[in-house]
């Protein structure tokens, strides 16, 4: 299986895959300290998505993906993950701040 290069693409496709087949999809993280390598895999045994990195900054991104998957898997595939992805949260605080100042 070919590794996906773009992180955003990997996240989008893996969430889609899980939502399409929540019963069979698993999310695997493999970490090899001696080589400093991190491989993420999402598969439903039919389709396989992989992402490989040796960058510490990608580990930070992975934290968000972990968050997404913990939420989806513990609460069910229909759960709204916009809160978890933090995309909306980054927009909201400045708005609130302006409101208070006025």
């Amino acid at each position: 299986m070919v590794y996906i290069v773009s992180w955003d693409e990997f996240v989008e496709q893996s969430v889609q895959l899980f939502r399409a087949s929540p019963q069979t999809t698993r999310y695997v993280m493999k970490y090899r300290h001696s080589d400093g390598k991190l491989v993420l895999k999402v598969t439903d045994d039919k389709q396989c998505l992989k992402f490989k990195t040796d960058q510490a900054q990608d580990a930070k991104k992975m934290e968000k993906l972990n968050n997404i998957f913990f939420t989806l898997m513990a609460r069910g595939p229909e759960t709204d993950i916009t809160e978890v992805t933090g995309k909306e949260q980054t927009v909201q605080p400045p708005k609130r701040g302006r409101g208070r100042k006025q």
């Binding site: 999310y27 493999k30 970490y31 040796d54 510490a56 513990a74």
Partner: protein, 132 residues
């Protein structure tokens, strides 16, 4: 596969990371699971009840397998502790490289300024141009 409670699982996971610093890998798998056998699942669904799903977390270093179940109530707390462990243990990843161009350029500039003082180098040719 040993089923553990959340905190013992995290402790065991930490020791797996410690054991594999020189060689070996750690795998952590997350799966959406009802933790029931096929027969049990059929019984519940045929009785018209809904299955309760949790997040099954499995970890292995190739020798030992551990697992735990994270429910909707615990997932935020567990996720936070899990993230802390990963941050503390994933220390062999590279800090920065080409990917982040701005930061990389900054880093190079700093190195150059320390080593050769490019400001002076820049000024000299400029002044010579003015004189000419």
């Amino acid at each position: 596969m040993v089923r553990l409670l959340l905190d013992p699982f995290l402790n065991e996971l930490t020791s797996m990371f410690e054991h594999t610093t020189e060689k070996g890998s750690v795998w952590v798998t997350l799966k959406h699971s009802s933790d029931k056998s096929k027969v049990q699942r059929n019984k519940i669904t045929s009785a018209g009840k809904e299955l309760e799903y949790k997040c099954l977390v499995r970890a292995t270093d190739g020798k030992k397998n551990i697992s735990t179940l994270v429910g909707a109530k615990d997932h935020q707390r567990f996720q936070a502790s899990y993230a802390t462990i990963l941050k503390a243990r994933m220390t062999s990843l590279k800090k920065r490289e080409k990917k982040d161009k701005r930061k990389a350029v900054d880093a190079v500039d700093k190195k150059v300024s320390k080593a050769a003082k490019p400001m002076d180098v820049d000024k000299k040719p400029q002044s010579s141009v003015k004189r000419a």
